[in-house]
């Protein structure tokens, strides 16, 4: 069980991020909670690729054949980070524009689209 601790941490962060989004009273806070939710995917990916005793998968100074951790999950994480940054940028610009027009960032007050 202890060997799976970091996987459970990823799950915990995921649920916390969801909780933040659901109970948020400020749209900017909600976007940040979305970013927190996404860090759970980083934790999961990195843990999946980890190898005990492995070093960084860069062979500039070590011979090929040295045990290294998995490089693919790092490449996946790079994509993941770019996705998160760009989606957050877009969402935040929506929040800023929305605030300009409706003068509030509280989702409760913004309920224009109902039914």
């Amino acid at each position: 069980m202890m060997l799976h601790l970091s996987y459970f941490i990823a799950g915990w962060i995921f649920l916390w991020g969801l909780y933040g989004i659901v109970t948020s009273k400020n749209l900017v806070h909600q976007v940040v909670c979305l970013a927190v939710l996404q860090t759970s995917t980083y934790v999961l990916l990195l843990t999946v690729g980890y190898k005990v005793g492995g070093t960084a998968p860069v062979f500039a100074d070590i011979p090929v054949g040295t045990p290294v951790v998995d490089p693919l999950v790092q490449a996946l994480m790079l994509t993941d980070i770019v996705v998160e940054a760009t989606v957050a940028a877009l969402l935040l610009s929506m929040v800023v524009k929305s605030n300009e027009l409706a003068n509030t960032v509280d989702p409760e007050e913004l309920r224009i689209l109902t039914g």
Partner: protein, 602 residues
């Protein structure tokens, strides 16, 4: 033909980068022409690819990274079969229609609209072609980011921003669930290629496999607007510009169901094979609830675009039911239904756009009787309603017949009746709008909260309907009819579906380059019972519409239409516009579906 394969993705992306560069200085006409030309070229390229893969699917390895010994795949491949190719063709056709419709409108977007549409199209084409799991996710996110930006285009009112924001939050949470699922699958199999994963997962499905299946399906079902992950769709459609709604309802949500199908059949089928019946039941329940919620909310809405959005949700339920039968015939029915529904719904959204352009309003109450002189649009509207009812000669009839026959064969006897319900209530709602808006019959529609959302028209001039708007709408509706005219289309769909569901054949083709023989063509069953069923649905729709419009005159027997039109207040309140609510329902839905899967599939 192999040289053409990356082009539906690469060329629109490059042109989009070019357009974003010169958009500030180049004229509107130049940007419109270039983008329409690119979309048209993509139609040609995807049609040629479809022709090339009609008999044998093709695998294309990017960077020339062919699979290695022991089934290890390092590169990314496109594995194009006829079903993926025809969906990409649908994508390019709808984008071309949308771009033609938006000729010279949205004057003040500084030409940023066209690059986003091209990027959207490229992402959806890539999504339908890909054979790699992470590539699927990348195109999913690319499609989503372009969609969020396009949805919030009309920044002069707060409602579009709210709609786009709700859309973005729910979809992004779904997207991250997909990444979690991918991580879990990678941990188990060490691979990202569909075929390799399918082979590695083997025949036993433990809790990890079920969890990854759950996470990835929920992410894609969120995109497909299956209840309870559907709340974002109505908000997004109510505020997005009409050509963008065409793409949303026409193909983007269908891609969600397609992705679940692709994922299941290429990776999970043999691992979960012992529990096919239980999984089928889960999909059926989800599909049924989606049909019901979508149908009732559709009739209870009086904002034209929101009404059409809920009808999409309802039809998505039918499509999930078709795919969820987990057979080749059900899948073939889903594909035909998705194609026909896509073009018909696209045509209807363009008609709604024409109404907004001419009459400057979008609520049924304000539009009462004002569409009397717009007879071409009215005609297209009626044809669209007919298509939603699944009546001959629309392609939805073919989809309905295949799905209903297969459902009865799988002992899901409620499916044909659900078809009648969905067809009757959604076509009835559209017919109701036709009678009220274009003929001016009966009394005004009740005003509901949603229809109060004002939408500024997308254009300046509104004296007559421009040809550039009418032409794509008519073309799309005609396409909905022409699907039935293709000889042997049902048999061809079923043959290709047989290949789609053959997991070991897929793996052999991709990993070992060993092509499998084309399955035998199946006989096509007569359409008579489907024509009768959809005929009943059409008559019911007409009756429902007339009864609602002339409620006062007909008397008490039609009182139920009043409550149908006002809608269930609890259901309405749940569609609250609050993103926290939507994510709470997403979590609840995931927990319920996950719980049932864990219980039934272990």
């Amino acid at each position: 033909m192999t040289t053409l394969i990356p082009l539906p993705v690469a060329i629109p992306l490059i042109v989009a980068a070019f357009l974003a560069l010169v958009g500030h200085w180049a004229g509107r006409r130049f940007c419109d022409t270039l983008s329409i030309a690119t979309a048209g070229a993509t139609v040609w390229a995807s049609a040629t690819i479809l022709h090339g893969v009609w008999l044998q699917p093709v695998t294309y390895w990017f960077g020339n990274w062919w699979p290695r010994p022991n089934d290890v795949v390092l590169g990314i491949c496109f594995r194009i079969d006829a079903i993926g190719a025809v969906i990409a063709l649908l994508v390019s056709v709808l984008t071309t229609a949308g771009l033609v419709f938006s000729w010279r409108i949205f004057e003040e977007t500084e030409n940023h609209f066209q690059p986003l549409m091209l990027i959207f199209m490229a992402a959806m084409c890539g999504f339908s072609y890909t054979g790699d799991l992470f590539n699927l996710f990348v195109f999913f996110e690319l499609m989503s980011v372009a969609a969020f930006a396009l949805c919030g285009l009309k920044t002069l009112e707060p409602a579009p921003l709210q709609g786009a924001y709700n859309f973005a939050i729910v979809n992004t949470v779904g997207g991250f669930m997909i990444v979690l699922g991918i991580g879990l699958l990678y941990a188990r199999t060490g691979a990202l290629n569909f075929a390799q994963i399918g082979r590695s997962l083997g025949t036993h499905g433990d809790a990890l496999v079920i969890l990854s299946f759950l996470l990835i399906s929920v992410g894609f079902m969120g995109k497909a607007a299956i209840v309870p992950f559907h709340f974002w769709l109505a908000d997004a459609h109510a505020v997005a510009p009409s050509p963008v709604c065409v793409l949303f309802s026409g193909v983007m949500v269908e891609l969600g169901v397609y992705a679940v199908a692709r994922m299941y059949w290429s990776m999970f089928h043999s691992a979960l094979a012992m529990h096919t019946d239980a999984l089928r039941n889960v999909f059926m329940v989800l599909g049924g609830i989606t049909c019901l919620v979508g149908g009732f909310m559709c009739f209870a809405n009086h904002h034209l675009k929101r009404l059409l959005a809920f009808s999409t949700i309802s039809h998505e339920g039918l499509m999930l039911a078709g795919m969820g039968l987990l057979t080749a015939k059900g899948l073939a029915g889903f594909v035909l239904y998705a194609l026909s529904h896509g073009v018909i719904k696209g045509g209807l959204f363009l008609c709604a756009g024409i109404v907004l352009h001419r009459l400057e309003r979008i609520g049924e109450d304000h539009l009462h009787g004002r569409g009397r002189h717009m007879w071409p649009t009215a005609l297209l509207f009626v044809l669209g309603a007919w298509g939603l009812a699944g009546c001959w000669p629309f392609g939805t009839l073919l989809g309905e017949s295949m799905i209903s026959e297969d459902a009865v064969a799988q002992h899901q006897h409620w499916v044909p009746y659900m078809f009648i319900f969905v067809e009757a209530i959604t076509a009835g709602a559209v017919m109701r709008v036709f009678f009220r808006v274009f003929l001016g019959w009966g009394e005004r529609a009740p005003t509901d909260e949603a229809s109060k959302v004002e939408e500024k028209p997308e254009t300046e001039e509104h004296e007559h309907t421009p040809v550039m708007m009418l032409l794509p709408a008519a073309a799309l509706i005609l396409l909905g009819i022409s699907i039935t005219a293709v000889p042997g289309v049902r048999s061809a769909a079923e043959v290709n579906a047989e290949r789609f569901v053959d997991q070991s054949g897929y793996a052999q083709d991709v990993l070992n380059n060993a092509q499998t023989a084309t399955p035998e063509p199946k006989p096509e069953e007569p359409l008579r019972s489907s024509i009768v069923r959809t005929g009943i649905a059409g008559v019911l729709a007409l009756g429902l519409a007339l009864g609602t419009v002339f409620r006062r005159r007909v008397g008490r027997v039609m009182e139920f239409t009043r409550s149908l039109e006002l809608g269930n207040s609890l259901l309405r309140r749940l569609h609250s516009g609050h993103p926290g609510d939507y994510v709470a329902w997403l979590s609840a839905g995931t927990a319920l579906v996950g719980g049932s899967l864990m219980w039934l599939l272990r």
